[in-house]
């Protein structure tokens, strides 16, 4: 892997390998010393053209646990017309000797352009580009699902590790319902490609206005009713996407009340889910809109695991991109 630009490019074996390496990284987090020397002397730049404190600190923690030097470069508001261009920024980072660039950008495809431009030699990690993809989010979601289903590493009080059976596993036979603004969601796109590559059956649920044209070419089922999806799919996983209230003004739906009533995961719908099913959310949540407080805080909810797993998965990605080939852990 030279860059991580999209989950579309990942084969099943590659994806499973990333998740397995992430298991090793999760083990590190349970040690007394939570740090590996692997990326000592390497420089990782978090280049954020868009605010996202959560994603940035997750990457920052991941890089630091691998002993990399981390530079945070917030270039919000930059564009060709006002301020510094992506090209100028990239060339600056190249001159500074960046080995890896974690890029968050409001323009779809910006990481592709950076990776193919020749402006910079560094490995590029897509940390969310416009309405295109957010591959590390999908990887951490897949990791979270796999761990819940098959168990990760458990550590007993004497420090001995007892490995679960997650390693090497795919998601064959797992049913996932993704609910919300599919049209504008990079999380949904990355999850569709990754989860289906891993063998999961994915159903997208949204108002018809928030389903992209041409969805029939995606390897998914589409359903306009959350109630119907819950009752017919009997999902193992319900993934709720954040809905943005400003979509109302563009007539995607009448108002948040109606949206919540029809497409929100309220208490009644949560109660109809199978007992061992999972409720996921990439955060930040609009409690009471797309997800009820009870659903978000229930034992089904993986929200906090997702945050913790995010660091492990991002460590795995940085490790695989930046550590020399063939180096073990």
């Amino acid at each position: 892997m030279r860059h991580l630009l999209s989950t579309r490019d990942l084969s099943r074996d590659e994806a499973i390998h990333v998740l397995d390496v992430a298991e090793n990284m999760a083990d590190v987090a349970t040690r007394e010393v939570k740090k590996l020397p692997t990326l000592r002397g390497r420089t990782v730049v978090n280049l954020f053209f868009e605010d996202s404190t959560r994603t940035r600190i997750s990457f920052e923690a991941a890089a630091k646990r691998l002993s990399a030097d981390v530079i945070n470069f917030s270039a919000k508001g930059s564009s060709v017309s006002k301020g510094e261009s992506l090209k100028d920024t990239a060339q600056t980072l190249e001159a500074m000797g960046a080995d890896g660039v974690v890029l968050r950008h409001p323009a779809s495809g910006a990481p592709h352009v950076l990776a193919e431009s020749g402006w910079i030699d560094a490995a590029i990690v897509n940390a969310g580009d416009g309405t295109h993809e957010h591959p590390t989010q999908a990887l951490l979601d897949a990791f979270t699902i796999r761990r819940r289903l098959h168990g990760g590493t458990q550590r007993s009080s004497d420090g001995a590790a007892a490995h679960g059976t997650a390693r090497g596993r795919d998601l064959d036979g797992v049913s996932v319902v993704i609910v919300g603004d599919i049209l504008h969601s990079r999380v949904a796109r990355s999850n569709v490609w990754l989860l289906t590559t891993l063998g999961a059956a994915v159903t997208l649920v949204a108002p018809p206005t928030l389903v992209p044209i041409g969805i029939d070419t995606w390897p998914v089922d589409v359903c306009f009713s959350l109630d119907e999806a819950i009752d017919t799919v009997r999902p193992d996983v319900v993934m709720m996407l954040r809905i943005q209230a400003e979509r109302m003004s563009a007539a995607f739906f009448p108002n948040t009340r109606e949206y919540g009533r029809v497409w929100g995961l309220d208490d009644a719908r949560t109660a109809r889910l199978a007992p061992d099913s999972m409720v996921m959310h990439p955060g930040p949540m609009n409690r009471g809109l797309e997800i009820s407080a009870a659903a978000a805080d229930s034992a089904r909810s993986t929200v906090l695991e997702q945050v913790a797993n995010g660091v492990s998965v991002r460590m795995a990605v940085l490790y695989l991109l930046l550590a020399g080939q063939g180096e073990g852990l």
Binding site: K87, S108, G109, A110, V113, H132, R186, I213, D216, T217
Partner: protein
């Protein structure tokens, strides 16, 4: 100096009907056709194996001057035109200031006259400042020295139905035409590629075909209602071709153009987020491309126009979302048309003369251009070698813009020479120096008894 100093004899060219002939050019006109013409006192040009086409006429270019001279000037844009075999171009109004007054259109016309690479006919804005609210001074532009007959807010759609109706009606008094950039603005907010399965996958806001087709449908009905002449810019979808076919069958006075790039390129090219392929209207599906070719072949689409849209390098050397829309097209137009519809057998060279010369001149009410090569006709012509096939590279670009989607693509054909008003603007496939061309233009003006420009 001999009296024939400015005469040329072109040896052994083929006309579009296949007839082989020599061509004597004297006093700005085609003086003689036939075999074994005497070249005494004239400059002989070997055109063995070359096609002699009437000088091409482009109804849709962006020359960027005044206001955006870092992208293109009238001089550099018309030099690109000459390199592509064009002898006349219609310059769109989205300059700064906008070409919405007699003063601006006269300035653009004069810049073209002075540069001499091609005849420049300014297009006047339909609305003041292209704002789509109030009619610009259409009459003043029509009666100005620029003699404007084509009006367009290109870049913007005249989306207000009432303003469009009034514009269509108003230009009847001077035989004008409204050239509509058909794009329903509300359906295309933020849109930058064809709306399709691919746009959904790439996460790029989609520009749906219906945004073009619905405006064309509305406007052909408006043109029918008020009995006016309507032209549709850069038709890009199969549905638009259907609407136009219906309108023409109904007798509505509508003409339409297609760009070379919409005849050859498809949306798949956008998958790598390479901003050279960002253009408005966007590249469409292969089904659309095939429908456009068929529409051009059966006359539903009347002409090919380039929508030549030069930009500085930094406007394309960036992420997709920040990049400017548009491609340069003048230098590559003939080669792309050959690749898309001539080599496939859908158009012959006589058709090419029709869609790239005769008909655009007629739509724009431009005299002296777009007429068959015949004795007495103005000597506007291009010599084209249709056999050469080679990679298209920056050396073929003669304007300021390098935002061509064809760089490193192999294209057939090459323009070897262009004559404008009897003097060469391109020889040996290379545009002549600007001093040479402007001196020739001045000489042609004097010879024609017209007042040279100040």
């Amino acid at each position: 100096m001999s009296a024939h100093e400015h005469d040329y004899v072109i040896r052994g060219a083929s006309l579009v009907d296949g007839e082989r002939t020599d061509i004597r050019i004297a006093d700005g006109r085609i003086a003689e056709l036939g075999t074994a013409l005497s070249a005494a006192g004239a400059t002989a040009i070997d055109a063995d194996g070359l096609l002699a086409l009437p000088g091409l006429v482009d109804l849709h270019v962006h020359l960027r001057e005044p206001g955006f001279e870092q992208s293109e000037t009238v001089l550099t844009g018309t030099r690109a035109a000459a390199a592509g075999g064009f002898t006349a171009v219609f310059a769109m109004a989205n300059t700064s200031p906008v070409a919405d007054t007699a003063g601006v259109v006269e300035q653009v016309e004069a810049l073209g006259r002075r540069a001499g690479y091609a005849t420049v006919r300014p297009i006047g804005a339909v609305s003041v400042g292209l704002a789509g609210e109030r009619l610009a001074e259409l009459g003043a532009m029509a009666t100005s020295r620029a003699g404007v007959r084509v009006f367009s807010d290109d870049g913007h759609c005249v989306s207000d139905a009432l303003l469009m109706r009034r514009a269509l009606e108003y230009v009847k008094s001077f035989d004008g035409v409204i050239a509509q950039h058909a794009q329903e603005p509300r359906l295309t907010i933020g849109a930058s590629m064809n709306e399709s399965a691919l746009s959904g996958e790439l996460g790029i806001p989609g520009w749906p075909a219906v945004a073009e087709e619905s405006i064309i449908a509305r406007d052909v009905l408006l043109a029918e209602h008020v009995g006016s002449r309507l032209h549709i810019c850069h038709v890009s979808t199969a549905g638009s071709v259907e609407v136009l076919r219906w309108a023409k069958a109904r007798g509505i006075d509508v003409t339409a153009e297609v760009t070379p790039h919409h005849l050859l390129l498809t949306e798949d090219l956008v998958a790598g987020y390479d901003a050279r392929y960002k253009v408005n209207p966007p590249l469409r599906s292969s089904e659309d491309v095939l429908a456009l070719r068929a529409g051009l072949a059966d006359g539903t689409i009347d002409i090919v126009a380039t929508d030549h849209a030069p930009h500085p390098a930094e406007a394309k050397d960036c992420e997709w979302g920040a990049a400017a829309f548009g491609m340069v097209g003048l230098e590559s137009a003939l080669s792309v048309v050959q690749a898309a519809v001539v080599d496939s057998g859908q158009l012959d060279w006589a058709d090419v003369a029709r869609v790239l010369s005769y008909t655009p001149a007629r739509i724009g009410r431009l005299s002296g251009h777009g007429v068959p090569l015949a004795v007495g006709a103005p000597a506007n012509l291009a010599l084209y070698d249709p056999t050469a096939s080679r990679p298209f590279d920056v050396s073929r670009l003669a304007g300021k813009g390098t935002n061509s989607p064809y760089l490193d693509r192999t294209l057939p054909g090459s323009v070897r020479a262009t004559f404008h008003r009897g003097y060469p603007t391109v020889l040996n496939a290379t545009p002549l120096a600007e001093e040479t061309v402007s001196a020739s233009a001045e000489h042609a003006d004097r010879a024609a008894g017209t007042r040279g420009t100040e």
